[in-house]
Symmetry: C2
Subunit: 208 residues, 2 copies
C-alpha cells in the first residue's frame, strides 16, 4: 500500500539554509507530514535538468505537491502552507503586514545577513570575498535595527502571536552571528528569538 | 465638504521608480482614486523623521490609508490593493504562484535590472560604480531568460489574464534597456510587454 507515501508532500532543500529551514519550522508547527529531500547547492544539485524542471530559477527550497506541482521561493511556500492557519491571519490588513515583513526579509535582510553568513560559513571566508563580506555588515545591522525598533513595541512582527513573518525573519536572524553580526545590542530581537525558541513545537536548525 | 479628499488613499513615491510605478499601474487598472505624493530619494526625502515614521526602512513606495495606517514594500501593497479583484486570484495555488513570481522579482530580478538602471539613469553611470553596473548584467540576463522561457508557454505569469505578478515584473522589465539589457533575444518577454501596454487601462511610466 503506497498511497500514504505517495501523498506526502516533499521539500527539496538544505536545512542549514535559512530559506529552507523556515519551511521546516512551519511544517513542524503545523505537524504536516512531509519528506525532506536534501539538496547540495555547492555540488551543483540545483543546476541539473531535473532540478531546473522544478524551479527554472535554480534555487532551493522547492515544495513538491503529491500531484507533481512545484512551488519555489521560500516566502511563497510559507504563505501557501500557512493559508487557513493561525500562522497567516485572515484579516486583509494583517496579511498585508505579513507580506511587508517577508519582502523586507528578502530585500533588506537576507541579501546582507544570509550572504555574509554564506561567505563565512559555507565558503570559509576566502580572501577574494572578504571585501564583499565586510560590505554586507552595514546593511545587516540596518535591518537588525529596523527589526529591533519594531520588536520594542510589538511581541511578534504582526499581532500578538507567531506568524510566518516571524518564521521568515527568525531563520537567518538567529544565526546572524555566523555572518559576523553581534546581536547583543538588539534586546528586542533577542527577546523575540527566545520566545520563538521556547515554543513547544519549535525545531532547531541542525548544527553543521 | 472635505470628506472625499480626506478619504482618498495616498501613495508616496517616484513614478520613475519601477517599485512605485507598479502601484500606479494597478491603481489605474482598478480606477482607485488616490493622491500621489512625489518623494525624491536623491534629495534625502526618505530619510526624514516624518518619512521614517511611515516606513522605518526608509524606502518608497509607501501606501497611506485614510486613517493614517502605512504599508511599505511594493509587492505587499499590490497584494493589499488587488485582494478581491481579478488581479489577485482567489484560488490558493494561483495566489502562491503570484507570490512566487513577486519574490522572484524582488530577489532575482530587481537587484540586477533595477540597480543597473539606477546606476545608469539616476546616477549617470559614474566611474566608481561602473564595475558594479557591469556585474549586474549577468544576473539580469538570467532573470530575463527565466521569464522568457515561462512566457513561451504562458500568456501571462499566472493563468490567462493579467495579475499583480505581471505588473510587478513589467515595471522594471519594460525599461530594462535603460540598465543596459537588450530585450531583442527575448521574444516571449517582448510579446508580453506588448499585451500589457495595449490594455485599455494601461498608464505608461512617465518619460524622465
Amino acid at each position: 500500500m503506497h498511497l500514504t507515501e505517495e501523498h506526502r508532500m516533499r521539500v527539496y532543500g538544505d536545512l542549514l539554509s535559512g530559506n529552507c529551514y523556515k519551511i521546516k519550522l512551519l511544517l513542524e508547527h503545523l505537524a504536516i507530514a512531509h519528506d525532506w529531500v536534501p539538496v547540495d547547492i555547492l555540488a551543483g544539485e540545483t543546476r541539473t535538468p531535473t532540478f531546473l524542471a522544478m524551479n527554472p530559477n535554480g534555487k532551493i527550497p522547492v515544495l513538491e505537491l503529491p500531484d507533481q506541482r512545484w512551488l519555489a521561493e521560500s516566502n511563497a511556500i510559507l504563505n501557501y502552507l500557512a493559508d487557513g492557519t493561525p500562522y497567516l491571519p485572515a484579516d486583509r490588513w494583517a496579511r498585508a503586514q505579513v507580506l511587508q515583513w517577508q519582502f523586507f526579509e528578502q530585500y533588506s535582510h537576507e541579501p546582507y545577513i544570509a550572504v555574509a553568513r554564506f561567505i563565512a560559513k559555507y565558503l570559509g571566508l576566502p580572501g577574494e570575498r572578504r571585501a564583499e563580506y565586510e560590505a554586507k555588515q552595514a546593511g545587516g545591522l540596518r535591518a537588525l535595527k529596523v527589526m529591533d525598533d519594531h520588536l520594542a513595541r510589538s511581541r511578534f512582527f504582526v499581532g500578538d502571536s507567531m506568524t510566518i513573518a516571524d518564521m521568515a525573519l527568525f531563520a537567518y536572524t538567529h544565526v546572524a552571528g555566523e555572518g559576523g553580526f553581534d546581536l547583543a545590542p538588539f534586546a528586542g530581537v533577542r527577546r523575540w528569538i527566545g520566545e520563538i525558541e521556547q515554543h513547544p513545537r519549535h525545531v532547531p536548525m541542525p548544527a553543521g
